[in-house]
Symmetry: D2
């Protein structure tokens, strides 16, 4: 019952704008919708809005900010007030700061990440249109995900950031990872939609970005994604497997700046009254990689 509709965009810091654009357009298969000297704007084929990924030229990789789309400006104002009451530093991003975007509010969440909320963005539409549409357009390239799906961030205080997203922004916690004694939460999976997660946090350094997940249709599309990555000689960190958490099917890899990407399929549908699923830390390997049953070092360590 939140007024937040979904994850709307992630702005990623990349070191070589052209090389990154080539990767996100030809390997991931996003469409470029605009660019200026500092940023390239991209959308997935099945998204209606102007962009969901912004590549921003920077000296180091990472996430500049992620943003959630809110139903309307009135609801945005209500949320702004609640966020300030929670004690977050908050500012306004004015119209025209980035291409095709209206006003946004920007604030620092308890893990130090910058998050924005907005309701105004240019409508672009899709190539199948909205009248008697085909199920998919011609001329798809690369992995061709349907949309940006979710992000995973790290932070020190998982309890507080979870409280912020659930109590202030109306997310539900679909799953959590707790220490074996049950005393501490070290992972938190948060949904604002009926998908298994729109955002997740795991214990780690503040302000760090773990990955952005793109939605692909099914397990065969995960295979196709992995094939395309290998054809393009892109290092696959985690080859196709299933998550215990979300039950989703997945492959992980890195963009040219070292930002981790995921092609993700088929997590379950969840509802507001579903109980939060609990994973105990001793089973975290199984929770993250259901087939491997253990974490690999890079997956915990490689953050941007």
């Amino acid at each position: 019952m939140s007024s937040i509709m979904r994850i709307g965009r992630i702005e990623l810091r990349v070191m070589d704008l052209e090389q990154s654009a080539d990767y996100y357009k030809n390997v991931i298969g996003l469409e470029e919708t605009a660019r200026d000297s500092e940023r390239i704007y991209l959308k997935a084929w099945d998204e209606y809005d102007h962009h969901s990924i912004i590549l921003k030229k920077a000296d180091s990789p990472g996430m500049d900010h992620m943003a959630f789309k809110v139903k309307d400006p009135y609801e945005l104002e209500i949320l702004e007030h609640k966020i300030e009451q929670f004690g977050c530093k908050l500012s306004r991003v004015s119209y025209g700061s980035r291409i095709a975007e209206g006003e946004a509010i920007r604030f620092e969440i308890p893990t130090g990440h910058e998050v924005e909320l907005y309701s105004d963005i240019e409508f672009v539409g899709t190539n199948v249109g909205t009248v008697n549409p085909d199920p998919w357009p011609d001329n798809l390239r690369g992995i061709a995900p349907h949309r940006l799906d979710h992000a995973l961030l790290t932070g020190d205080d998982i309890e507080t950031v979870t409280r912020f997203f659930t109590e202030v922004l109306g997310f539900r916690q679909s799953e959590k990872i707790v220490t074996v004694d049950g005393e501490q939460m070290i992972g938190s999976f948060l949904a604002i939609t009926n998908t298994a997660h729109d955002l997740a946090f795991v214990k780690g350094p503040d302000k760090k970005f773990h990955h952005a997940g793109f939605h692909v249709d099914n397990w065969y599309e995960v295979l196709k994604a992995a094939d395309i990555l290998s054809k393009n000689k892109i290092h696959i960190e985690v080859t196709p497997t299933r998550h215990g958490i979300t039950r989703g099917q997945t492959v992980y890899f890195f963009d040219p700046s070292g930002n981790r990407n995921e092609a993700f399929a088929s997590g379950y549908i969840t509802y507001a009254d579903f109980p939060t699923i609990t994973w105990t830390e001793d089973q975290i390997g199984t929770g993250i990689f259901y087939h491997r049953r253990e974490l690999m070092e890079s997956f915990s360590k490689a953050l941007t």
Copy 2:
């Protein structure tokens, strides 16, 4: 932003309770959770609540009622008030009227169907549990859908019933079918979740039931469903195909009383700001059966 969480149950009228239970348990693969002399209660393996399908002994097939689960009794009261204001006949279903259910409100929607809203039902849980769960349980039988997914009903006044569900109950219209001149709406696909539809109406006689859709995971599960139906010599009305509307993958068939069932996979994810997709009546065949591109007579005529 509705307080309605999802389709919660459908009570189907069946002529032979035992034969129907055998079908829903061994072919569909639901679990029986309770029964009395008049009704058998069933749930899908991935549902937490006590039941989503009730089979009720009757002289003729059809739908006794369908019900949506609301977040809490307070929200239920607000909705009750709105429904009365809209002018629907409304009554209270008292605690204990059916097994494992609390109070509900029951009302007649503009197409004459009986619909209930409730927030209280016994929690049963699933066989994988909520602590370090496996992605699926052992000993699944039959088609083994994850959950009840949606229903399709027929009625004369699609415009008004759409207005009722959107304005009063907070559904969004994901897709619609209109006459070629655009004057009249003859199909309406309504979502209260992020799935492509939780309920749909097509032009036809009032009070009639077209089908109940069960969610299966993917296109291979649709094949498995069709194989299982054929192994059990159950007539498949529509062999595996894709819908234009919802993009879902589907197979249609009938229960022993003639109530139509569907195994449905993979419709798109939709959000509150997505435009309503329009199908024109001349393309209705493609909209319903994307590969066949035309309707078959039985699909319009066989209603219960």
Copy 3:
């Protein structure tokens, strides 16, 4: 233990050469490898030889001939002798009769169809090459089958044509359809490889062509094939389903001249010692279309 390696090519009569080429190249997704004023030569992406489909300009649709590739000219001579002994009319097709082909022998089988055997054809290779190849090439178009898989022909005397292919050419019968009294064979599925069939015959008029089957990888590729056909407004005669016979997954449709095509996936692997599977005529519907359990009229009647 036959010296015949596989179905090598089918020459189809088509009424409009350009329109047909457009269909076979852009919808089916074959590559054009040569053409002259009368014929266009095509291969599938995963075939090494110069062509597997020849389109020949004609006044009526149908199959000019189909041909099997034999291991070497010596074995071809042995087979030539056996075929003559069986009593077939036989002639030599000289080098240069068609592009990229060497000599062939041509003969009329008991159902009146023209069949050729050859061992010499130009080697073209595939886009993935034979050194450290990727599993699939870039820039696939349309349905993009791996290869020509099999053909189905009709004829009056199924027993004799079966005897010809098994006794003279070394095929095995993987499956057969017989009248309920077991007296007469009305369908015969013949394999020269370990696939479920390379050639099949069903009772019907002599000299007629039922369909050419192209191999696609899996059930999702069958869905993709059907989607592509619908996107191209090509009539799908049989939407995605499973065969009882061969267990394969299938979709049937027609080329612009009315020659039936099939995208076929996943039939079983068979061996020389496997028993012939028997279908009785009363179950022929289930044998052909496992989900529908009955034949449709067009499938028996539309022949070229």
Copy 4:
């Protein structure tokens, strides 16, 4: 054109007969067809012959022998003669040495492994039967492969063992791995059927067993296999991925004695005239694991 039809059986040495039988029956999903004090005999659901896996009580794991089925005793004699001429040590295994088997010939191949050829084994059949069969039987358990598919063995002299299988037994080499200078063959993939491989050798110690591959239908069945292994807490060495070599989809794991198993799907179809595909040693990682692009230590080292 060989008289060898397929890989017929592998006899595996296992240390705990009951524990191993439990694994092969309930996790792999084979059926037990016979047992005595020393051996348990198993078949896959889609195999007609009495057994394809024999578990033999032993002090150490490994392969006692593997055997190929030959068309008839006459052809067996011809092969016996050729094998002796090649210089292999050869003996007769007399009728009754193992349950349900007739006579066999047994010989040591150039890598020191014991191999048998036979034509006589009891016919058991399948649960779907050979008259109007369903595509799959009810009550499948575990991974439920269709059949034993292939084996991979190690040895010092890959060239000679390849020459033995191609020149003496009529196998074709579908793929090979060579040193970068092209001087030495270090991997050899051999087919006697139209599948991508029935037997393979990689450079390593003589007499060692690398894995037995079981055929599953498709990429979703590979996922199901991996899920089942994880549910049963069985270590998965290689999570679902694609092979460059054969293009097959795969998951690797171990039986309770440490013998490696594979669930394998979807390799290509190959023919006698196809060129041998070459992988250079620098690309061996990509050849074996197309997504990972490098070998893992255990995969080379863990042999039985």
